[in-house]
Every structure is written in C-alpha cells, then in structure tokens.
C-alpha cells in the first residue's frame, strides 16, 4: 500500500513537472522532433470542438489521402479553446490549427499567437461579411466556414406574415391573444447581443465602423440615438413587452409552448422547437433605421509559432475552403456556410436561407480588444432600465457610456 502511494506520488510529480515544462521552453529544439516526424508527410494537429469534429475529420481524411500527411484532431471544449490557445502557443504546445470565433481576433493578434492567411483569389469566393470579420489592418487571419446571426423566428401558425416594424410585431402578437406578444431574452444581467438589432435601428452602433468594415475604438452608442433607444427600452418595459425575468430558457420554453408568435434568436434555438412550423424574417426595426444584428463568423486560425506552416495553410486554403468541406461543416453545425457556393447549396433549406438573408445585411461583431470592456456595463444598464432600477433611462445610458469610456481609458 505504502509503495503504491509512493509510486503514485512520483508519477504525479513527474506528470506535473512535465506539464509545467512548457512554461520556460525555447521552441527551437522542439522543431527537431517535428522535422523527423515530417518525413512521412507531416503531422498536423488541429483543435476542434465536438460539433465540428466529424466534419473536420471527413475533410482531414481526404487531405491525408491526397498529401500523405497525418492529421491529428484534438477534441476540446469550445469555451476552453480561446484561453488554452493563448496560454499554450507561447510554450510551443499549441496546435497548428484551431477552430475559433472571429471576435477572438483582437486578443489573438495583440498577443501575437495567430498568423495571417493569404487566401489569394479565393477570398472573393467567400461571403464578404465573413472575410471582413476575419480581417484586421488589411490582413486576413482566419479561414471562415460558418456565419451565424440572430433573426426573427416566427411561428407561422400564430402569425401568417412578417411584421414590418417592432410596433407591428407587438400589435400582431397582442392580437393573437398569446401570453407574450414577442419574446426577447433580457435576463437580470441584460443581453446586449440579442437587443443589438433594436439598438442599431435607432442608429446607435457600439463602435464606429471604418469603411472596410473594421471597427475603430471610438464608442458610438451614446448621444441622442443612444438615449432614445434607452427611452424605448423603458417604454417597452412599462408596456410589459420586455422583462428582465425572461431568461434564455424561459423564452425558449415559452415559444416552444406556443405562447408567443415571435422570438428573437439564433439557429441554436431551433432544435428546441420541434413540431412548430417556423419562418425566419428580418428583425423588425424599432427606431426607423435597419435593425442589424451582430454576425459571428466561425473559422480556423493558424498558430503563429507553428512548425507546420505549409501543411496548415495547405489544409485550410486547399482543403477546408472547398464546397464539400464547407457543406460538411454546415451539416454538423447548421449555420450558413461562409463559402458562397456552399451557402447557395445550403440555402435550399428555407430556414438557412432566412438566416443567411438577415446575415447579409448584418454587421460583424467587433473583434477589437476594446469590445471586451463593453459587455458587462452595457447589459446591466439595459437590464436596469427595463427592470425599473434606473428610473431615468437617459441618465443611466449616459453614465454607462462614461463608465465604458473610463474603462477604455484605464486599460
């Protein structure tokens, strides 16, 4: 017994030390090992999450056949990838390629862990918004494969036509006699992501956008447009349309039970609505201007310290950007593909076509690092206005803008 404890102790010690060993490593020696392995066509390590794994596996199989390379997929929890990638790339332990979201880009580049990808003429074969999202300072840093955004999901049994404005939607919803005229998750901490299209319809985007679609770090959500959105929130709260008690789970459950004709949400909700006949419409404008939701683009990043740059780029540019590969990812994740040809094929499904149409007029979620400082102030202020905790909406909104500015100045 005692000896087995000893054994476990030293085993644990050695493993722990091995795990730490990365922290002080020089990556030069590591390449020797990779070079000898590469004799048989090279080994490519890719981090994927559970939903994308089968699709990437399929693409990897044909790539392996074609080039003789070995592709090793490492299954990761999607939520862990961002932090793990940032921490492990400098130690030389990171993968050659990882899946990721485009809004990680600012953090990735400021920490120097991703390398640009030259798509060449292929860039024009992708949906413009997807390339735009992965572009920073004129360089593309990721190979996009899926575009994701929210839209108005309509229960056609309760509402036959798409509403033109927010007021129409509320009126139509109330006319059906449903429990909720329209469902929008707010929650006690607020949900600025879901409420963003309403905000943009008042002309108050979060940051100013440059001509090429990238964002500058100048806050644009204040001013008159911002405060009129804040008053709108207060009015909707008074009319009992928006409520902080409505969380994601409650909203989805209520819509699934047929308690409302409309819900604002994304494709991830759809599997909760079996049996309902759905239509996807643009989000109705509340403030007169187009209601533009955020677009999130999923893609693949290349490790800046990778020893397999050629293999990694070859795999992404020549294998993952084919229609077959993008359609396989579409089958796995149900998001409209980023490659236009694949998206055209996928649009045979009216639901996908609906989300794609809304996404075409949407704006990419800002990927600048400053975006991280915005969320927690933004959401809580919206929730405060809706719950009535902030009786003066305009003042609350102005304080929020000042606080975010203070945070941006401090960091």
């Amino acid at each position: 017994m005692r000896r087995s404890i000893t054994f476990a102790a030293v085993l644990g010690t050695s493993l722990a030390l091995a795990a730490c060993s990365g922290s002080t490593s020089g990556s030069d020696d590591a390449s020797d090992g990779a070079a000898t392995e590469a004799a048989d066509g090279g080994t490519l390590t890719i981090w994927v999450d559970e939903t994308r794994k089968p699709a990437v596996e399929a693409a990897a199989a044909s790539f392996e056949e074609e080039t003789g390379a070995t592709v090793e997929l490492v299954l990761k929890n999607f939520d862990d990838i961002r932090a793990d990638f940032l921490a492990q790339v400098p130690t030389g332990e990171g993968p050659d390629i990882t899946v990721g979201a485009h809004d990680w880009l600012g953090e990735m580049t400021s920490n120097g862990v991703v390398a640009p990808i030259e798509l060449g003429d292929k860039a024009s074969e992708f949906e413009p918004v997807s390339i735009e999202a992965f572009t920073q300072d004129g360089q593309v840093y990721g190979l996009p494969y899926a575009v994701e955004n929210i839209a108005l999901i309509r229960n056609t049994a309760l509402a036959a036509t798409a509403p033109a404005t927010w007021a129409d939607a509320v009126a139509a919803g109330q006319a059906t006699g449903s429990k909720y005229p329209i469902l929008l998750q707010v929650s006690e901490k607020g949900d600025p992501y879901t409420m963003y299209p309403l905000q943009t319809s008042f002309g108050a985007p979060v940051f100013t956008q440059n001509e090429d679609g990238s964002y500058a770090a100048d806050l644009a959500l204040g001013g008159e447009a911002g405060t009129s959105f804040a008053s709108f929130l207060a009015a909707q709260s008074a009319a009992k349309v928006l409520d902080t008690a409505i969380t994601y789970d409650i909203a989805v459950a209520a819509f699934a039970a047929g308690e409302s004709p409309y819900i604002i949400g994304g494709p991830w909700m759809l599997e909760s609505f079996p049996g309902l006949d759905l239509a996807i419409d643009p989000i109705p404008s509340a403030g007169g201007q187009p209601a533009q939701p955020f677009v999130g683009v999923a893609g693949f990043y290349v490790n800046a310290q990778s020893d397999n740059v050629i293999l990694a780029n070859d795999f992404l540019v020549n294998s993952m950007s084919t229609e077959d590969a993008q359609l396989a990812l579409y089958e796995a994740g149900d998001r409209p593909p980023a490659l236009t040809a694949a998206a055209d094929t996928a649009s045979a499904d009216p639901i996908t076509a609906g989300f794609r149409a809304v996404g075409a007029d949407a704006v990419p979620m800002p990927s600048i690092p400053e975006m991280g400082s915005v969320w927690s102030y933004w959401g809580v202020t919206e929730a405060g206005i809706i719950s009535g905790a902030s009786p003066d909406p305009a003042a609350a909104w102005d304080k929020m803008v000042a606080d975010i500015q203070g945070e941006l100045d401090a960091s």
């Binding site: 020089g26 090992g33 048989d40 920490n111 540019v317």
Partner: protein
C-alpha cells in the same frame, strides 16, 4: 519425592546461555537478514525494485522531455527528486524519510511551486498584450506587418533546391518561368520547362517534392525572394508552397540596435520598460512581451480611484459574509446535532441521512439551482410558496445578501451537523454524569461543559470554514454573479461581490476586460495575507480555549 520442578541434583548443569558476543560470522548473517538487500531478494524487495524502476523510467522520460524543450529548471528539479527518491528508498540511513518523501514531493510541486510562481507573476505584467517572450513578440510583429502588395498577382510556385540553398520558381501570366533566391532577385529562365503552370524542370536546380518541402517547412516559409534589385518592389513568399505572392514588409527589426523601424514612415520603435516597442512620441506597437514590473501591480490594485470605494464595501461584506456564514451554519448544525443526539428522538438515523443530503449535491450546482428557485417572477419561491409575489431576491441589494447567506446556510449546515455530532458523541458520559450530580441543569451543562469541550475540537474547523467562505467564489459566481451592481460605482462590481470575485472581475480573467494575470496574482496575494492574518489571530484564541480546558 522432590517436586518435578526442582532439578535433579545429580543432573548435569544446564548449558549456559551464550554470554559472549556473536561471532563475526553470525554478525554478518544478521546484517544480511536486516539490510544488505543485494543478497536478499524477498518479495517485498523485488516489488520495491520494480516500482522504483518504473518511477525512475518516468523520471528519465521527463528529464529527456525537459532536455528537448530546453527547460533546465524542470530538468534539474526532476533529477534532484529522482536522486532523493532513490537515496531514500535504498539507503538505510534515510529510513524515516521514506514515509514523508511522497508528501514532501507533492508539497513542493503543488503548493510551494504554485505559491512561488504566483508570487513571481504578481511582479510581472503577464496578461493580454504581454503573453510571451520578446523573441515571440518580434516574430509576431514581423509577420503581422508583412503585407501583400495591393493588386499584385498570385503566381503558381515551385520550390527548387541548389544544394542546401532554396529557390523559388514562379510562372508569370505570360507563361515565363522566373527563378530567384534569397540573395538574387527573380530572373527569367528561358530553358525552363513549365506545363499547365507547373514548373517541371529548371537547369541547375533540383525540384523539391512535397515530402522534401515538408521537411524544410521553416526554410520555405521564411524564404524571401526579391522581385527586383529594388527592395521597395517587395519579395515573393509562400505559405503553402503552391502559390506565391508579392509581399512587402512594413516593419523591420534591427537585431543589433534592438529597434523596430516602420518602413513607410521611418519611425523608430525602441523597447521600453513595460515590454513594448515604443516610438519617441509614445506610440506603442501592439504585441508586447512579459517583463518584471516590480510593485506596479500592487500599486495599481489600490491606486485606481474607481476601485477605492467599492473595495472598502466589498471588503466589509466579505468579512461579514464569511463570519455570518460560519456562525449561522455552526449554530444550526449544532442545534440539529444536539436534537438528533438525544436518545428520545425516534428514527434518528433517517433524519440524520436526510440532513446530509444538501451536502451531497455539488456546491456549484446547488447555487445554480437556487438562483433559478429565487427568480423574481418564475422562481419556485415567489411563484408557489409566496403566491406570485414578485420579490427581487437576487436583485435587491439587501435581499440578495440575505439570499446568499440563506443559500450558504442551506449548503453549509450539514457539514457543521456532522462535525458537531461527532464531537458530541466523543464527550465522555462520566463528565455529563458528574455535571448532573453536581446539580447542573441542562442549560448550565450546555454552557459550562458541552460548549467548551465541543469548541476545543471544532474551533480549528470553524477557522478553516471561515477561510473557505472568505474565498467562496463558486457560491457568489453561480448565485448572483456579484449582482446587483453598485449604482454609484463606475466599475462592474456589485453588492454581493466578495474579494475573490472582485479579483476575477477586475483582472479580466472573466473575459470582460483585458486579461491581466499579473494584477490577479498580486490581488490574490493580498487576499492570502488577509486570510492568513485572520486565521493566525483566530488560532491564537483557540489555544487560549485549550488552556481553559
């Protein structure tokens, strides 16, 4: 007849027990039995040998891996651990050490190392923008600032080799083959053969096949072939060894002067003390590296005026939360333990089992569950128990504090119940009897006999419970997330935030601000000092308690 016990007088004297020391030979055989393993292969010894061989093999693997990575700190500490392990288990002199060596090794790796590393990080600027070493940062800056020349063509590219030196061959839109190397710009080669934009033969060069390219990936991706003798025309480079593009670097690194120069504006950036390249006018390049910044993080934690007033409120609430949690759970646990310790209560076992149930649910899950139960409109508490009253259990500052304490009471009393039951049952019956004989009533017995005896055995656990609740991040994070937010503060902190959740929030580890591991480490050291001081003071009080006893 003499008794059978008495020796017969005529019998020969019994053999004297040997009083002389054992002969040399005897001594040798004794020693062999006790220690000289080399000549004694008992089963236990063989097992030890095998286990230590496995341990040594693993250690050897770690040493080799550390060698390959160039991590000499790890290498030497592993060697030291292995030498120590082998010495302790094979030498007779270090006999007692073999019981504590495993624990000691764990302590070194999982405690001392972690503490020292946290301490080290607290004095660096490790965080977003300072994620790695200087050479990594330079490399990242260079690749980020290499741009494809606008409007330039994509060329089909072939990698060539002339001995050790690599070259690129590209096919222009006219079908010409142009070849160049690092030192010699592209030149049209007339007698090269290209079919369908693929170069198949270039005189004087060997065409590298895919495997050869993959073996020299780094050489291929770092090769820059100038387009012409004018550097401002840019150079051909490739990322996939299939197509080449004309790139131009906008940032140049001068290794001798250790400066970065912007090729378009001529601005020179020099490394500053914060681990970034900075120009004379204070412009900084985005990617930095880790440097030691001294006490900056500690200063930052207290110098930011936006944090001053929330910090005091949060500090006070943290102490109140930890103290009230310990007191409330202890009192309830003690009360229930005494009730169920009374032999007059029937079905005691069933009740006791039920009491433990909250303890069996993982804490974070229970907190999450409670946050649902306490939802203002749809929660079970308001909806069913209070008949639809919309009480903001988690959104009103005071009610939220009450809710946190209440949920922690629900989560924590079974533990106190357990230890109190144990302590009560270990109080000797004769002491109680003596108290009864002396005429003490139940209250007097409780105050003068039970409580002091109970406190002696539970006080250390109460102190550790205080320290645990002081850092009870899970409960706060899962139940209220620190909310409701302070209305008067300009930072994302709330009424139920405790120090550790404040650290989580302001160090950006939660993703709502730029990550700053240095600041987080500095703040956790501050918290450690606070908890340590309070615990030390409390333990001193406990010692007084024992003296009374």
């Amino acid at each position: 007849m003499s008794s059978p016990q008495s020796p017969p007088t005529d019998a020969p004297a019994p053999a004297q027990p040997p009083t002389v020391p054992p002969t040399r030979r005897a001594r040798r055989s004794l020693g062999r039995r006790d220690g000289a393993h080399a000549t004694n292969f008992s089963r236990g010894y063989l097992l030890k040998l095998v286990l230590l061989a496995v341990v040594d093999a693993l250690g050897g693997y770690v040493v080799l891996a550390a060698w390959a990575q160039g991590s000499f700190g790890i290498l030497w500490s592993m060697v030291a651990l292995l030498v120590a392990a082998n010495y302790v288990y094979f030498s007779r002199r270090a006999l007692p050490l073999k019981y504590i060596l495993p624990g000691l090794a764990f302590l070194l790796v999982y405690q001392i190392f972690v503490v020292l590393f946290t301490g080290f990080v607290a004095f660096t600027n490790y965080g977003d923008g300072h994620n790695s070493t200087k050479s990594d940062a330079i490399e990242a800056l260079l690749i980020q600032n290499e741009r494809r020349v606008e409007g330039s063509d994509a060329y089909p590219l072939t990698v060539l080799a002339d001995g050790d030196e690599l070259a690129f061959a590209i096919v222009t839109s006219d079908g010409d083959v142009r070849v160049g190397r690092a030192q010699s710009p592209l030149e049209t080669v007339d007698d090269a053969v290209a079919t369908d934009d693929v170069v198949t033969a270039v005189p004087g060069y060997e065409i590298l096949d895919r495997q050869a390219i993959l073996q020299r990936q780094e050489d291929v991706t770092t090769l820059r072939v100038p387009v012409s003798s004018d550097p401002s025309d840019g150079s051909i480079r490739t990322q996939d060894a299939r197509s080449g593009y004309v790139f131009i670097s906008t940032l140049d690194y001068d290794a001798d002067a250790d400066t970065m120069t912007d090729a378009t504006t001529g601005t020179v950036y020099r490394p500053n003390d914060d681990g970034q390249f900075e120009s004379a006018d204070g412009d900084q390049l985005a990617v930095g590296w880790r440097v030691v910044v001294g006490f900056d993080n500690f200063v930052k934690a207290f110098a930011d005026p936006r944090y001053a007033s929330p910090f005091l409120k949060i500090f006070a609430w943290t102490i109140a939360f930890a103290a009230l949690s310990v007191v409330s759970t202890f009192l309830l646990g003690l009360f229930l333990a005494m009730v169920f310790n009374d032999e007059r209560v029937r079905f005691r076992r069933i009740y006791r089992t039920l009491m433990i149930l909250p303890y069996a649910i993982p804490g974070f899950l229970a907190a999450l569950l409670w946050s649902g139960l306490l939802n203002r409109r749809f929660g079970f508490i308001n909806q069913v128990l209070l008949g639809g009253a919309e009480i903001g259990w988690l959104t009103d500052p005071w009610l939220a504090k009450l809710a946190v304490l209440g949920v922690n009471l629900w989560l924590g009393f079974p533990y106190m119940f357990l230890i109190c039951t144990g302590a009560l049952q270990s109080i000797p019956g004769d002491v109680m009897e003596a108290a009864k004989l002396d005429g003490a009533g139940p209250i007097r017995t409780w105050r003068s006999v039970i409580m002091p005896l109970l406190l002696v055995s539970t006080a250390p656990l109460l102190i550790s419970s205080f320290a645990f609740n002081f850092n009870n991040f899970t409960l706060i994070y899962m139940l209220t997330g620190g909310g409701p937010r302070f209305a008067d503060a300009s930072v994302p902190l709330g009424h139920t935030d405790i120090l550790i959740s404040m650290v989580y929030s302001i160090s950006g580890v939660d993703g709502n601000a730029a990550k700053d591991y240095g600041l987080a480490s500095a703040l956790s050291i501050v918290i450690f000092v606070i908890v340590g001081t309070i615990s030390a003071l409390a333990f001193r009080q406990t010692r007084k308690l024992e003296e009374i006893n």
